[in-house]
């Protein structure tokens, strides 16, 4: 609802005025009228006030700073701020406001104005986690479960090495610096587009949801939006889907897995990417079951429950694995 935002706006202006102006009894009386008019007004104001009070410690950040000089960004003497270990994600913040429901679900949201330093960094996600990594050039990488990526940006090119797992790239246009993703022996080159790359050992698959990418520079050629390319040995099979279907295959970005008449074996393999306690199919008759639906990727239990109730499957939940019979 817009009214929440409007209320917040008004509250912010009240607070700013009280902070800036010579605040008179009259002003306070007017503010009180507004605060008393609705509890939503009051809680919005209190919320902003709480945060503002926390900025009281700002002077402590730059004790020696001269008057009227605003310290540069990152010029803080607060030590291990950026000594992040390899594999840790960059700061996550809910900052860029117009969240689509998809973005709202992204476990780590974007932070405008906050960028990856130039140079070389490696990131990885544990099983079941995803992470969003804003790059210095305005691009954004979303890492899926159990994935590992190396990012190296310089003046000539933006080079990403997908060491394992899956990543979705939202590439900022920059014709002077190609955006290159290497997955094992495969190379994908983009100039301002959205696509994902997934790697299972030497097999690589690419899904394009916007713009176009060059897969392996020469052989498979240009992949347009909706294309799903999969390597089989030396060959590359390309299937053209609608953009919507392609997006569906990437629903992991919102925390969901979407299936449409998908074989149980394949569904189970998908879920197993997100859980340390894998599901095994212990009976051949189950292989052919087809699953349609949307599930939370990390909620294996909900999925098991549906299979159990819907297909009369016996579930044997052990400590290390779950067996379906």
């Amino acid at each position: 609802m817009d009214s929440t935002r409007q209320t917040e706006d008004t509250a912010a202006h009240w607070l700013a005025r009280r902070e800036l102006e010579d605040w008179t009894v009259d002003d306070q009386a007017q503010l009180d009228v507004w605060l008393d008019a609705a509890i939503l007004n009051r809680v919005a104001f209190l919320r902003l006030e709480t945060a503002w009070e926390q900025t009281r410690r700002l002077p402590a950040l730059a004790p020696g700073a001269g008057r009227r000089s605003v310290p540069p960004r990152d010029g803080w003497n607060v030590s291990p701020f950026f000594e992040r270990r390899q594999g840790e994600a960059l700061p996550a913040a809910r900052f860029r406001q117009p969240l689509t429901w998809a973005a709202a679900l992204l476990p780590a949201a974007l932070l405008a104005g906050w960028y990856l330093w130039p140079g070389d960094r490696t990131f990885e996600t544990p099983i079941g986690a995803t992470a969003s990594i804003p790059l210095q050039d305005g691009s954004n990488v979303t890492l899926n479960t159990a994935s590992r990526i190396r990012i190296a940006l310089d003046d000539r090119e933006r080079r990403i090495e997908l060491r394992s797992g899956e990543a979705f790239f939202d590439v900022a246009k920059d014709p002077t610096r190609p955006f290159i993703v290497e997955a094992g022996a495969r190379r994908i080159v983009a100039v301002g587009t959205k696509f994902s790359v997934r790697r299972d050992g030497s097999a690589v698959s690419v899904i394009v949801t916007e713009g176009a990418v060059r897969f392996d520079a020469d052989d498979a050629g240009l992949l347009e939006a909706g294309a799903v390319a999969q390597t089989r040995g030396d060959e590359v099979a390309v299937v053209s889907k609608t953009v919507r279907e392609a997006e569906e295959a990437l629903s992991w970005r919102t925390g969901y897995l979407t299936f449409d008449e998908t074989a149980l074996g394949e569904v189970v393999a998908e879920f197993n990417r997100y859980t340390p306690r894998p599901i095994r199919i212990g009976s051949a008759r189950l292989e052919d079951l087809r699953i349609t639906g949307r599930f939370r990727a990390t909620n294996t239990d909900a999925f098991i429950r549906v299979v159990e109730q819907g297909f009369r499957v016996e579930v044997e939940a052990g400590e290390k694995e779950i067996i379906l019979r």
Binding site: D9, L46, A51, R73, P91, A92, A129, T130, G255
Partner: protein
């Protein structure tokens, strides 16, 4: 006394904004109006606390959030069997909606530096000149060569963003952790 109710509310409720937001997001993974649900939760908690302050502020806050969500779902008639089951299961979930982690000594300052640096340039300057250098509105305006009214606008904007950043990432949620989707661990099964 209204005054002390306000500070109670800030101390006991608003500081839990980060876990509250996660909690709401987990209940309503597919909605964009989390801020809306959050503010409604705040309002109801505040109203109830006017009559009597709850013994356990945080538990009361989660309970209220749950009611807000249930009401919303009823109003929109989008209830599914799974949603009902999940909502019924909620009280059990509350415990593992992680409360704030204990902040290390320097952590709070780091979060502050990080949030402050994330402000747009002009907002950032206005906030600093006012908050640290204690310049008046007029002085800030002439220092930056902008209108006095613009100073107010930048400050208001900065205050909103700071709330988003500081409260949303309370105590170390921000700079060096990533969230796990399994924080949203309740199931949802949609077949259409």
């Amino acid at each position: 006394m209204p005054e002390s109710l306000d500070s109670w509310f800030k101390r006991e409720i608003i500081v839990h904004e980060a876990p509250l937001t996660r909690f709401l997001r987990r209940l309503c993974p597919a909605t964009e109006d989390i801020p809306d649900l959050r503010q409604e939760t705040y309002a109801r908690v505040y109203e109830a606390a006017r009559k009597a302050r709850p013994a356990s502020a945080k538990a009361f806050m989660y309970g209220t959030a749950r009611h807000v969500v249930v009401d919303r779902i009823r109003r929109r008639r989008v209830i599914t069997i799974d949603t009902v089951r999940d909502l019924d299961a909620l009280p059990d979930l509350v415990d593992d909606v992680t409360p704030e982690r204990q902040a290390a000594a320097g952590q709070e300052l780091r979060v502050l530096a990080w949030a402050f640096d994330a402000l747009p340039p002009k907002c950032r300057e206005v906030v600093w000149l006012r908050r640290v250098d204690r310049l008046t509105q007029r002085e800030v305006a002439s220092e930056l060569g902008i209108a006095e009214k613009t100073v107010e606008n930048h400050l208001a904007k900065g205050m909103k963003r700071l709330a988003e950043l500081l409260l949303g990432n309370r105590q170390g949620d921000a700079p060096d952790t990533m969230q796990h989707p399994n924080e949203n661990s309740h199931g949802q099964h949609q077949t259409d």
